[in-house]
C-alpha cells in the first residue's frame, strides 16, 4: 500500500520572528512503519510534525502524503488521512464536553448522527475514557486530557497517526495502556517523545533531529547504541539499555505486560 507513504523533501521552516526551526529535513516513511522522532528541546520536532498535516506551511521544500503533494487544494483530504495529536491537549480539546470534542471530527466529515454516537463510544472505550464522556475538558486531569485528545483523532480513523509527545504527563499505567494502543494501530505511526524507553519499545526506526536538521536516521538499536551521537544531540540511552545502578549489572526493568521485542541489548 504505497498510499500512506510520507515523503518530506528539503523541508525548511522559518517562523515569522526569524527563527529557522527547520533547516533542511528530508526522509521517506513507508506504510506501516513506526517512527520515533527524537531530539533536544527546541530541536524542531513539533515544527516538523505540524507540517505533516498542513498546520504549518513550509518556507521551502515539499511534503507528499501518499504521492499527493501537500497544497491548499489537497489539504482537506490530507487532514482526513493524517490524524494529529498535539503536544498540549488543552489546545485540542476546545468543545464543551468530552463527547462533543470526540464527535467534532466525525461531524465535520459528515457522518450520520447514529454513526457518530457509536464511533465516539467505541473510541472512548478504546482509550479507557468511557466514563468521562459527559465531562467538560477543563475538569479533567492532565492524563485524562491526553487520552481524550488521542480519542478525538482516532474517531476520524486516520491512516497515519502523528503524535507529539503522547506519553507526556501520563501515569505509568496510562502510559502502558497508550503504548499498547499504539502497538495495535496497524497503520503508519510517527511520534516525537522524550520518553526514550517508549521509542525504544515501539519504534523500528528513529530519526534524530538536532537544531533543525536530521542528524541520524536508522534502526532504533543502532541509534541508541551510538554514544557519541547521543551526547552531541543532548540525548541519552533509554533506561532499559543502561546498566542498573542498584544491582550494578543487568538492565533495570520493571515487569511489564507486553514483553518488548528487543531487550537487554547491552553494549560495553
Amino acid at each position: 500500500m504505497s498510499h500512506h507513504i510520507v515523503e518530506v523533501k528539503n523541508l525548511r521552516h522559518v517562523y515569522s520572528d526569524g527563527t529557522a526551526a527547520l533547516k533542511d529535513v528530508s526522509f521517506i516513511i513507508t506504510h506501516g512503519e513506526s517512527v520515533g522522532i527524537i531530539g533536544a528541546n527546541g530541536a524542531g520536532k513539533s515544527t516538523l510534525l505540524q507540517h505533516l498535516n498542513g498546520s504549518l506551511e513550509p518556507t521551502g521544500g515539499s511534503i507528499h502524503i501518499g504521492h499527493t503533494p501537500l497544497s491548499k487544494g489537497t489539504l482537506p483530504d490530507i487532514r482526513r488521512t493524517v490524524g494529529m495529536v498535539f503536544q498540549d491537549p488543552d489546545d485540542q480539546l476546545f468543545m464543551p464536553t468530552v463527547f462533543d470534542d470526540v464527535a467534532f471530527g466525525p461531524l465535520n466529515l459528515g457522518y450520520a448522527t447514529a454513526d457518530v454516537e457509536q464511533r465516539v463510544t467505541e473510541v472512548l472505550e478504546l482509550v479507557g475514557a468511557g466514563h468521562l464522556r459527559d465531562k467538560p475538558p477543563y475538569h479533567l486531569s492532565g492524563g485524562e486530557k491526553k487520552r481524550v485528545a488521542i480519542a478525538t483523532v482516532l474517531s476520524m480513523s486516520p491512516d497515519i497517526l502523528v503524535m507529539d509527545e503522547p506519553t507526556n504527563g501520563l501515569d505509568p499505567f496510562a502510559r502502558r495502556q497508550l503504548m499498547a494502543l499504539m502497538r495495535d494501530f496497524e497503520h503508519t505511526r510517527i511520534f516525537t517523545s522524550h520518553d526514550l524507553d517508549m521509542v525504544m519499545e515501539l519504534c523500528d526506526r528513529v530519526i534524530v533531529l538536532h537544531e533543525g536538521e536530521v542528524r541520524a536516521d536508522g534502526p532504533a538499536m543502532e541509534i541508541f547504541g551510538n554514544d557519541k551521537l547521543l551526547a552531541e544531540c543532548r540525548l541519552e540511552k533509554p533506561l532499559s539499555m543502561q546498566g542498573c545502578p542498584v544491582c550494578g549489572g543487568g538492565p533495570a526493568r520493571v515487569s511489564r505486560p507486553h514483553p518488548p521485542h528487543h531487550h537487554h541489548h547491552h553494549h560495553d
Partner: protein, 270 residues
C-alpha cells in the same frame, strides 16, 4: 473585580452544579431561559416604591433551589456580593427622596428608603435568577439554548471558546500573579512597566494558543461550519414548565398577593 481569583473558583463550583441530575436539570435549556426572562421582566416592571409585592416572587428561586438541590448557602453568599454599583447608586435614593410616604406608628419612612429597599430586593431576585439559571442549566446549555432562540452562531461559538479557555488562562494568570507576589516581598501591585511586560507575555502566549487551537480545528476537518450534536428537545414537560411559571408570574404581577394576605391577617386582629 479585585478578587477575581475567588470569582474564578466560584465559577468552577457553579459550573459543576450544572452536572447534577434533577427534574429541573433535565429540562430543555430553552424552557429555563425563557422562564428566567419572564421572571426578570416581571420584577423590573414594578414601580420604584413597590416592595411588598416583590416578596411572593421568592417562590421561584426557593422552588428551583429545592427541586434542583442547589446549595442554598452558596447561592446566597454569591448574591450577597451584590453589584457594588447598585448599592452606591441605590443609597442615594434616601438622600434625594426624603418625602415621608409611610408612617409606622410614630416613625416616618421616606420614599427614598422604600425605593432603596425595593432596589435591594430586586437585585437579589434578578441576580439570583441568573445564578440559578446557570446552576440548573450550565453555561454551555444556556449558550446553545440562546443559539436555538436566534443568537448568531459565530457569537455562540466564540462564547463557548471564551468559557472553555477561562479555565486554562485564569490558571496561567493566577500562576503569573502568584509568582510575582512571591518575588515582590509583600508589596501590593506592580509597577506599570513590569505589569505591561507580564500582561504582554500572557497576551502573546494566548495569541499563540489561539493559533494552535485553530490548527487543531482544521486538523479535524473544520471548514467553517459548526455542526451541533443535539439531543434535548422541547417537549410537554418544557411547555408545562414555561406556561406554569409564566402564568404564576403574571398572576403575581397583577395581584398583590402580599397585600391580600396581609389584609386578611390584620383583619383577623381588628
Amino acid at each position: 473585580m479585585a478578587s477575581i481569583n475567588k470569582a474564578v473558583l466560584d465559577l468552577k463550583r457553579l459550573d459543576l452544579l450544572a452536572n447534577n441530575d434533577s427534574v429541573i436539570h433535565r429540562l430543555d435549556a430553552r424552557a429555563k431561559v425563557l422562564v428566567t426572562c419572564v421572571f426578570i421582566l416581571c420584577i423590573v416592571s414594578y414601580d420604584r416604591y413597590e416592595l411588598a409585592a416583590l416578596f411572593p416572587f421568592f417562590i421561584f428561586p426557593a422552588v428551583l433551589i429545592a427541586l434542583a438541590d442547589l446549595p442554598a448557602l452558596f447561592i446566597a453568599r454569591k448574591i450577597a456580593l451584590l453589584c457594588p454599583f447598585v448599592l452606591v447608586v441605590g443609597i442615594f435614593n434616601p438622600v434625594f427622596d426624603r418625602e415621608v410616604l409611610v408612617y409606622l406608628g410614630p416613625l416616618g419612612i421616606s420614599g427614598g428608603w422604600i425605593s432603596f429597599a425595593s432596589i435591594m430586593v430586586r437585585s437579589v431576585l434578578t441576580v439570583g435568577a441568573a445564578f440559578i439559571l446557570v446552576g440548573v442549566t450550565g453555561f454551555t446549555a444556556v449558550c446553545q439554548a440562546l443559539e436555538r432562540l436566534g443568537m448568531p452562531q459565530v457569537f455562540a461559538v466564540q462564547l463557548l471558546f471564551l468559557y472553555r479557555y477561562i479555565f486554562v488562562l485564569s490558571e496561567e494568570g493566577g500562576r503569573a500573579s502568584r509568582a510575582r507576589e512571591l518575588r515582590s516581598c509583600g508589596r501590593k501591585g506592580l509597577g506599570i512597566r513590569s505589569f505591561s511586560s507580564m500582561i504582554g507575555h500572557l497576551l502573546l502566549r494566548t495569541w499563540q494558543r489561539a493559533e494552535r487551537i485553530h490548527m487543531a480545528m482544521l486538523a479535524r476537518g473544520f471548514t467553517g461550519q459548526f455542526h451541533a450534536y443535539r439531543q434535548s428537545s422541547f417537549g410537554k414537560a418544557e411547555l408545562l414548565f414555561v406556561l406554569g411559571w409564566s402564568a404564576l408570574f403574571v398572576f403575581l404581577r397583577i395581584n398583590n398577593v402580599s397585600r391580600y394576605l396581609g389584609t386578611l391577617i390584620t383583619g383577623l386582629f381588628t
